[in-house]
C-alpha cells in the first residue's frame, strides 16, 4: 500500500516494466478497425500504438476504458485490457480501476459528447480529485456515432440535423472547463500532428494524477475540416512550451503579451520586443495563467488556438491518498482473524 504521494513524472512508477522491448505490433489487436475512411481517429490510434512500446511498461498492465461514440471504439483495437463501457461513464469506471490497482496504466478514451455532454460531471470530478488516469478527449465538435448532431463544443449557429435553424448553444472550452475543475494537467493537441501528439500523451501518462488531453480530431463525414483553419504556416496555432516565450504565426512573428489592463493578447514580436512576449509557465501553481491562455481559443470557427501543455502541476493523486488509508493483513487467515475481532466488537454476552 502506498503511503507517500508521488510526484509528476511518476504516473507510471508503480506499473511493472516489460521484460523484453515491445513493438507497435504488440499493441495491435486482431480486430478490424472500423472508422470511416479518413477519420482522424486512425491517426491517433497509430500514434498511440507507436508510443506505447516506448513507455516500457507491460502491455497487460495497460487498461483502456472508453464510453460510447466513434472514438470510444478505440480499446478494441489495442491489445491491452479494455472496456467499452456506457455513454459518459468512463471516468467513473476508470476511477474504480485506478483506486483498486496502482500497477496499471489507466487510459480513458472519450469524445466531446461522451466527456462533455452526458459525462461532464464524472470528468470534472475525476479532475478535481486528481485520480491517476489519462483522458484522451477526441474533440471533433460533433456527435459522430449518432450521425451528426451538434455537441457541447460545436460553434453557435451550427446547422445539423437537430439544429436545422442553427444551434443556439454556446460551446464549452474544454481546457477552460478542466482548469475551472482544478485539473492538475491539461493539454491540447491535434490528430494529425504525430510528434506533438506523442509528446503530449507521453507527458500526460507520465503525470501522476488526472491528465486531460483534448485532441482536435477531424470527422470527415459530419464535420469535415473543423480544424483546417489551424493548418498551414500562417495559421493561428499557438504552441505552448514551458519556459519559452509564446510565439506563433509565420516565422514566429507573433507573440502573446500582457496588455495594460492585464489581459493577454497577440502582438507582433517586432513591435513589442521579444522580452515582452509572455514566457509560458506550465508549472505555476495558480491556474490563472493557464486559464487566460485557454481563452485564446476561438469559439466559432477555429482559426486560432493554443496547443501544448497548459498546466502540469504537482498535487497528490487521489488513488494514492485513498490507498494510503487502506491496509489488510497479507495472510488470509490473519485477515479473517482480524475481521472476526471486528465483527465481535466490544459489547458481547455469552449464553
Amino acid at each position: 500500500m502506498t503511503t507517500t504521494p508521488l510526484a509528476p513524472g511518476a504516473g507510471l512508477t508503480r506499473v511493472p516494466l516489460a521484460v523484453t522491448p515491445l513493438t507497435r505490433k504488440d499493441f495491435t489487436s486482431d480486430q478490424e478497425v472500423r472508422w470511416c475512411p479518413g477519420c482522424g481517429d486512425y491517426a491517433v490510434l497509430a500514434t498511440f500504438q507507436g508510443l506505447m512500446p516506448q513507455l516500457g511498461i507491460k502491455k497487460e498492465n495497460t487498461v483502456i476504458v472508453s464510453g460510447i461514440g466513434c472514438s470510444s471504439r478505440f480499446p478494441y483495437y489495442v491489445d491491452s485490457y479494455g472496456m467499452h463501457s456506457i455513454h459518459g461513464r468512463a471516468p467513473a469506471i476508470a476511477t474504480g480501476i485506478a483506486m483498486a490497482r496502482e500497477d496499471l496504466a489507466v487510459w480513458v478514451v472519450t469524445g466531446d459528447g461522451d466527456a462533455l455532454s452526458i459525462g461532464g460531471n464524472h470528468l470534472i470530478h475525476a479532475l478535481r480529485r486528481n485520480v491517476n488516469i489519462t483522458v484522451m478527449l477526441f474533440n471533433n465538435r460533433i456527435y459522430g456515432l449518432t450521425k451528426g448532431q451538434y455537441s457541447p463544443t460545436s460553434e453557435q449557429g451550427k446547422l445539423t440535423k437537430s439544429s436545422p435553424a442553427g444551434s443556439v448553444d454556446s460551446p464549452f472550452n474544454p481546457v477552460s472547463l478542466a482548469l475551472g475543475a482544478e485539473a492538475s494537467f491539461v493539454a491540447r493537441t491535434v490528430d494529425s500532428h504525430r510528434a506533438h501528439l506523442t509528446e503530449v500523451l507521453t507527458a500526460a501518462i507520465s503525470h501522476r494524477g488526472a491528465a486531460l488531453v483534448e485532441i482536435y480530431q477531424n470527422c470527415p463525414i459530419f464535420n469535415d475540416g473543423a480544424f483546417d483553419g489551424l493548418k498551414g504556416p500562417d495559421s493561428g496555432l499557438i504552441p505552448l512550451r514551458h519556459g519559452e516565450p509564446i510565439r506563433f504565426g509565420p516565422d514566429g512573428g507573433l507573440g502573446i503579451v500582457r496588455g495594460a489592463d492585464g489581459s493577454l493578447r497577440p502582438a507582433a514580436v517586432d513591435e513589442v520586443g521579444l522580452e515582452n512576449v509572455l514566457v509560458h509557465d506550465a508549472h505555476r501553481d495558480d491556474p490563472g495563467l493557464a486559464f487566460e491562455l485557454s481563452r485564446l481559443t476561438d469559439t466559432g470557427t477555429i482559426l486560432s488556438a493554443p496547443i501544448g501543455i497548459f498546466r502540469d502541476v504537482e498535487r497528490p493523486s487521489y488513488d494514492d491518498l485513498a490507498r494510503a488509508q487502506v491496509s489488510v493483513a497479507p495472510d488470509p487467515a490473519r485477515r479473517l482473524a482480524e475481521l472476526q475481532g471486528l465483527i465481535t466488537g466490544p459489547d458481547t454476552w455469552t449464553v
Binding site: E60, N61, V65, L336, L339, I343, W349
Partner: protein, 617 residues
C-alpha cells in the same frame, strides 16, 4: 414493598425531543436487556427533519424495544410502556400505546406553552383524558437537577442528564443492574469527568427514586429467553450487512471496494465500511449513484469485489450500469436499502416496493439475481450470499434490505468466519481457447465466464456493452448469436436455483391449508403473527424467501400443496404478481403500504379470518 410481577415480554418506547438523547437511552437499556439474557428487537424512529423546532411533533425522536423470555421477531406493534419526555412525545405516540399501558411522563415539561405548541387545550396528565392508562407523571427534570446539583453543572447541562435519570428508573422497574451503564459512562465520558459524574448520579438517583417512592406498585421481571449457547452481540441491519460483505470478500480472497453516494437509510453502510479500511476495504464517496456503481464495476474489472449501496432513487439511477454489468458478466453487489416511495417519498420510512424494479428495472433482457434479508442480523447472511453468487457466477446481484432492517437491531450469535464457505473467483490465468487464445466468454459448468484481470499476461481482452459473440466476446450483430447469448445469460441466472436450498414451509403439524409466503422484512411480523394464530389453535404454514430470482426450484410444488396462498407485502403485491405469473397459483396479496412494518396484531387477526374462511369451504 413493591410486588414483582413476571412477564413474558414487554414493549417499551422512549420518546422525546431530538435533542433529548432517546436513542442513547434506548440502546443502553437494550444492552442491559441483552445481558440479562432476554431476546430483543429494537427500532428507532427519527424525525424526517434534521432538527425540527424543539417541542414540536415533527421533532419527536423515539426508540422502541421489545424484549422477552422467548425468541421474538419484531420490535412490537404497540408499546406497553411509553416514556414521554414532553407533550410532543406524548401526542406523537399515545395513539400507539396499548390500552391499559403505562405512561411515564416528565410533568416539568407539560407547561401551558409546550402544551399549546402541540395543540393540547388542557394538560392530558391531569385532565382525565388518559384515564385508561397507568400514568406516572412526576417532575423528572426537577428531580434530576436536584440529583446532580452538587456537581456544579449549569442548569442546561444538568437537564441534559435527565434521560439517564429515566434510564435508572427503568432499570429499577425491570429489575436490572445499573453497573453496565455506569461502566459505559465511565468509558464514554472519560475525558469529561463533570458530565460523567452527573450522568452517573442521574442513573443512580433514578434507580433510587424507583426504590424509595411509592409511585410504582410493581416491578417486573422477564426471564431469560432460551437461546442456543454462544457468544452474542447486538447488531443493526446496516452493520450486519456491511460485515457480511466484508466476510464475503474475505472468503473470496478479494479486497472489498464500496462505491456509494449517501442516501437515507443506506448511508450507514458507507459510514461503517469507511471505518474498516484496515481490513482491506476501500470506500469511495462518489459524485452520484451512477459514478458509485461505475467505480464499483471498475474495481471488479480490476479484480476486487465491487459493491454499491443505495436506496430507491439511487437504484433508478444505477440501472443502466447494472445492465452493463449484466453484459460484462462481472461480479457486483448492488444493495438497495428500500424506503417508502415513489420518488423522494418518505425517506425515513420503510417499504418493500422496489422488488419489481430490482427484477425488471433494466432495458433489454437483463436478468439479475435478487436476494433479500429477513431480519437485522440476517443481513449478514444475506450479504454473504450476495457476494457468493456475484463472485461464483460473475454477475451483478441485487440485495434488498429496507429501512426497518437497516436501523432495527437484535441479538446476533457471532458466527465463526472460518466456518463460512470459501468462495472461488476462478480467475483465469492461462489461455483457454484454440492456439493459445483467450476466450473471455467461455463458460464453466455453472455458465460463469472466464474472468481474467488486468495484469495477467497473455489474456488481454476487451469487454463492453455491445452484444458479445459467444466464446470470443468480440462484437457481434449476428441474430442467432444474440438469441443464444440472451438465453445463455438467462440460463446462467436461472441455474443458480440448483445452488440454493429448496423452499421449505414451516408447517409444524403438516395440517395447514393456508400458506403465508413472505420475503424481506415481513419475516418478523409473519412469524409473530403465525405464532399468535397457532396459539389460538389454528394451523398455518409460513415460507420465507431469501432468493427472489431465481426462485427456489421446488417452490411451485410447495405452493400447490396449500389451498390458499397469502403474500403479505409492504407494497401493492409485487411478489404476489411474480408467484402468480410463474406458477399460475392464485397467490393473494395482503398489502399494507404505510411506511411501517405490517402490524402483527392486525395481520394475525386477518389471518385467522382467512384460515376460518378456508376451513369452511
Amino acid at each position: 414493598m413493591t410486588d414483582i410481577t413476571t412477564l413474558d415480554h414487554v414493549v417499551i418506547r422512549f420518546a422525546g425531543d431530538s435533542g433529548d438523547g432517546m436513542q442513547l437511552t434506548g440502546s443502553r437499556f437494550t444492552h442491559e436487556t441483552a445481558v440479562a439474557g432476554n431476546d430483543f428487537s429494537t427500532l428507532p424512529n427519527f424525525p424526517a427533519e434534521i432538527r425540527a423546532p424543539a417541542g414540536t411533533v415533527a421533532g419527536v425522536s423515539s426508540f422502541q424495544l421489545h424484549f422477552a423470555n422467548f425468541d421474538i421477531r419484531t420490535p412490537g406493534d404497540a408499546p406497553d410502556v411509553l416514556v414521554a419526555m414532553n407533550p410532543a412525545a406524548l401526542r406523537a405516540n399515545i395513539g400507539d400505546l396499548v390500552r391499559g399501558g403505562t405512561i411515564i411522563a416528565d410533568s416539568a415539561d407539560f407547561t401551558a406553552r409546550n402544551l399549546a405548541k402541540v395543540g393540547y387545550a388542557s394538560d392530558p396528565l391531569t385532565d382525565g383524558s388518559l384515564d385508561s392508562y397507568h400514568v406516572h407523571a412526576f417532575d423528572l427534570t426537577g428531580q434530576t437537577i436536584a440529583a446532580v446539583a452538587e456537581l456544579g453543572l449549569g442548569r442546561k447541562d444538568a437537564v441534559r442528564t435527565r434521560n439517564f435519570y429515566a434510564l435508572g428508573l427503568l432499570n429499577w422497574m425491570y429489575d436490572r443492574p445499573v453497573e453496565g451503564t455506569l461502566e459505559f459512562l465511565a468509558h464514554k465520558f472519560a475525558g469529561n469527568p463533570a458530565v460523567r459524574d452527573a450522568n452517573t448520579a442521574a442513573v443512580k438517583a433514578g434507580y433510587a427514586f424507583g426504590e424509595t417512592t411509592e409511585l410504582f406498585a410493581t416491578r417486573y421481571r422477564i426471564a431469560p429467553a432460551p437461546v442456543p449457547p454462544g457468544t452474542y452481540r447486538q447488531i443493526s441491519g446496516n452493520r450486519a450487512l456491511g460485515y457480511g460483505l466484508m466476510a464475503g470478500a474475505a472468503r473470496s480472497g478479494l479486497p472489498l471496494f464500496l462505491g456509494a453516494y449517501p442516501i437515507t437509510p443506506a448511508s450507514d453502510v458507507l459510514h461503517i465500511l469507511s471505518n474498516t479500511k484496515q481490513h482491506g476495504v476501500t470506500t469511495f464517496q462518489a459524485e452520484d449513484e451512477i459514478a458509485a456503481v461505475g467505480a464499483a464495476l471498475g474495481a471488479s474489472f480490476a479484480g476486487q469485489l465491487g459493491v454499491t449501496v443505495t436506496s430507491g432513487p439511487g437504484m433508478a439511477l444505477k440501472s443502466e450500469t447494472i445492465g452493463l454489468a449484466v453484459m460484462l458478466e462481472l461480479p457486483l453487489v448492488v444493495v438497495d436499502v428500500q424506503r417508502a416511495g415513489p420518488s423522494t417519498g418518505m425517506p425515513t420510512k420503510t417499504e418493500q416496493a422496489d422488488l419489481t424494479q430490482a427484477l425488471f428495472g433494466r432495458h433489454g433482457e437483463a436478468p439479475v439475481p435478487v436476494i433479500a434479508a429477513a431480519s437485522p442480523a440476517d443481513c449478514f447472511d444475506a450479504a454473504f450470499e450476495a457476494a457468493r453468487i456475484a463472485v461464483t457466477y460473475r454477475t451483478p446481484v441485487i440485495l434488498l434490505s429496507d429501512g426497518y432492517l437497516a436501523n432495527g437491531a437484535e441479538p446476533w450469535q457471532i458466527p465463526d468466519l472460518a466456518t463460512l464457505p470459501s468462495i472461488d473467483p476462478g480467475f483465469a490465468t492461462s489461455p483457454n481457447g484454440p492456439d493459445g487464445s483467450f476466450l473471455p466468454y467461455a463458460r464453466d459448468e455453472k455458465l460463469a465466464r472466464a474472468w481474467a484481470v488486468p495484469g495477467t499476461p497473455g489474456l488481454q481482452h476487451r469487454v463492453g456493452g455491445l452484444e458479445k459473440a459467444d466464446g470470443t466476446g468480440a462484437i457481434s450483430y449476428d441474430p442467432a448469436n444474440h438469441e443464444r447469448m440472451v438465453r445463455l445469460r438467462a440460463a446462467k441466472v436461472a441455474g443458480i436455483a440448483s445452488d440454493v436450498p429448496p423452499a421449505e414451509a414451516d408447517d409444524p403439524t403438516g395440517a395447514a391449508r393456508v400458506l403465508v409466503v413472505g420475503w424481506g422484512s415481513t419475516y418478523g411480523p409473519i412469524a409473530a403473527a403465525a405464532r399468535r394464530v397457532r396459539l389460538n389453535s389454528r394451523e398455518v404454514a409460513t415460507l420465507h424467501l431469501r432468493h427472489l430470482n431465481p426462485l427456489p426450484s421446488n417452490l411451485g410444488e410447495v405452493l400447490r400443496r396449500y389451498d390458499r396462498v397469502v403474500v403479505p407485502e409492504m407494497n401493492l403485491g409485487q411478489l404476489a404478481m411474480v408467484l402468480r405469473a410463474t406458477y399460475l397459483v392464485d397467490a393473494q396479496s395482503y398489502s399494507r403500504v404505510r411506511g411501517l412494518p405490517i402490524s402483527v396484531a392486525e395481520f394475525a387477526a386477518d389471518l385467522e379470518t382467512i384460515i376460518d374462511e378456508e376451513s369452511q369451504r
